[in-house]
Point group: C2
Chain length 319, copies 2
């Protein structure tokens, strides 16, 4: 493919205004940012008189499903394809395979974006892709509806851990304020997403707290989450969301590592760091990637081997 | 005393500009809002060339103490007395007794403010008193320093549970954005206050999660916290703060009960409920009291007897 054309929000808005029949793709294991950004953009495009759908993502958890059902399509034949919050085509869900090499506009905030699309709207300074979509919608329509605001608020609040994480900026709060003013039910969304836990979530948290291993003078906290632990807790994907944050919050911990057993001897590693250490560089050692303070990699080995490998990668990067 | 004179922020700013030598009082068992508001105002007054101090509050926990030490005074003789986030004189700390009936300006956001001061700057629509102090500082100085912004950010973020609670408004986010722009290290503060737990805190949380007993179709969650558990975790009073919230956030739980062993066969019970059940009425059955959704009682018996008594009281009130 030719080199991608980088766009700013005004150019991307103009591009959208001049076209129609959009399909929006979200990434595999979709989080609130990819889903909220996609549905928020879809909502704004429809309000602007366009035909737009979000490609159904069958990995959507019950946490987010209720917000998405108006926007899904499984069989829409688009003229233009957009992706939200997707850094590389490797993150396409399985039913989006046919759109590889066919994305017209990628909207993203990952510095590692591989520029796989014909046009790319990228702002790595945004805590969430939803912030970028907000600016795009304003450039597109000059205003924002309560429905669009609600969906983008979900993107913002989930990608910042409800404004707690280090990625949260003055702009995140500025846009959150404007979204609430536009009608986003911030309190209701936060209550639902951040202040209620299932029993299984509580149980998996307990399992994780019991399993923390400290190393390097307690500056590294590692947890191996086995299939057995997940089963004992009765935890589903929703319950497992953001478990990496649990031991990352312990005083003095610089690097927190979660090694999770997924089916078939595959291990999913998540690394969280503070500013002192580059999580993305650690995961890149093993072929993964991500942000400076949150990154991940999936390895084709059991959790115990995966743990040794990631600890070695930490030693390589953090001398 | 005569009726209080209600002021807006512009009037209060003018009142401050025309005076000097201020002492600022915080409330007993001080939280981040009363402390951050007081220190933030003190900082802004000093930057405006005034002499100002915050009256030392000996109940300040180690969570907030590091932010306060530049502002404390134990023996300053003021010309004018200000209070921040104090609804009634009954909430004055013990060393502020001499200022009862002598507060010149009360800055508050509690709708229940008893109007005990000569002048009152009250805005009950603010999630935190800090938001009101922000507007006052802007009216006072036209700008805000990084130091003042940091202290007011502490007020905002603690009174809204880091922007999670239902009181958070568009204005809260708007002001948070402006404070970060002015130099408040939002990420650092949130990390310290909301994303850092001592290892002892993590261990007592783990003990509590392991000890939850469910009853009444999982609508009642009870935890007995023994002295042995506290000792095993190495937990101090800071570590034990708000432990009743841990099992209260589980989906479907209506009543959460914490029975904690304090020295000498005495049990301290804390009851949290949602709107369906009156926590105060439950504790009143055993001679205690509190609010509708959070109440407590101390019993002169061991934790196991105490647990039976409080569960019987729940049955009495919640049929």
């Amino acid at each position: 493919m030719d080199k991608t054309k980088m766009m700013n929000t005004a150019e991307a808005a103009k591009w959208l205004i001049e076209r129609n029949n959009f399909l929006i793709i979200t990434h595999m294991r979709p989080d609130g940012d990819t889903l909220g950004s996609a549905a928020g953009l879809c909502s704004a495009l429809r309000e602007a008189g366009k035909t737009a759908h979000v490609l159904y993502n069958n990995q959507t958890t019950k946490r987010y499903a209720p917000y998405m059902h108006n926007y899904w399509s499984e069989d829409f034949s688009p003229d233009f394809v957009i992706s939200t919050d997707i850094a590389t085509e490797a993150l396409f869900p399985s039913n989006a395979g046919m759109y590889k090499g066919r994305v017209d506009l990628a909207i993203d905030h990952h510095p590692s974006n591989s520029e796989f699309a014909k046009h790319t709207l990228l702002d790595a300074s945004c805590a969430s892709c939803g912030e970028l979509v907000y600016e795009l919608v304003i450039d597109l329509s000059g205003k924002i509806s309560a429905e669009t605001a609600k969906l983008l608020f979900i993107a913002l609040t989930t990608d910042t851990g409800c404004f707690r994480y280090g990625n949260t900026t003055a702009d995140t709060h500025r846009i959150a304020s404007l979204l609430i003013k536009a009608g986003a039910p911030g309190a209701e969304i936060n209550k639902k997403l951040f202040r209620t836990k299932t029993r299984s979530r509580v149980m998996i948290e307990s399992e994780i707290l019991n399993a923390i291993e400290f190393s390097r003078d307690s500056q590294i906290a590692t947890v191996v989450v086995t299939g057995e632990m997940i089963e004992r807790a009765g935890a589903d994907e929703d319950d497992l969301e953001d478990i990496a944050a649990i031991h990352g919050q312990i005083e003095g911990v610089v690097v927190s590592i979660t090694v999770r057993e997924v089916e078939g001897g595959i291990s999913k590693i998540s690394v969280r760091t503070n500013k002192l250490v580059d999580a993305g560089a650690i995961c890149a050692e093993l072929g993964g990637g991500g942000h400076a303070m949150a990154a991940g990699v999936t390895l084709d080995c059991n959790v115990w081997e995966a743990k040794e490998k990631i600890l070695a990668a930490v030693d390589e990067i953090w001398k």
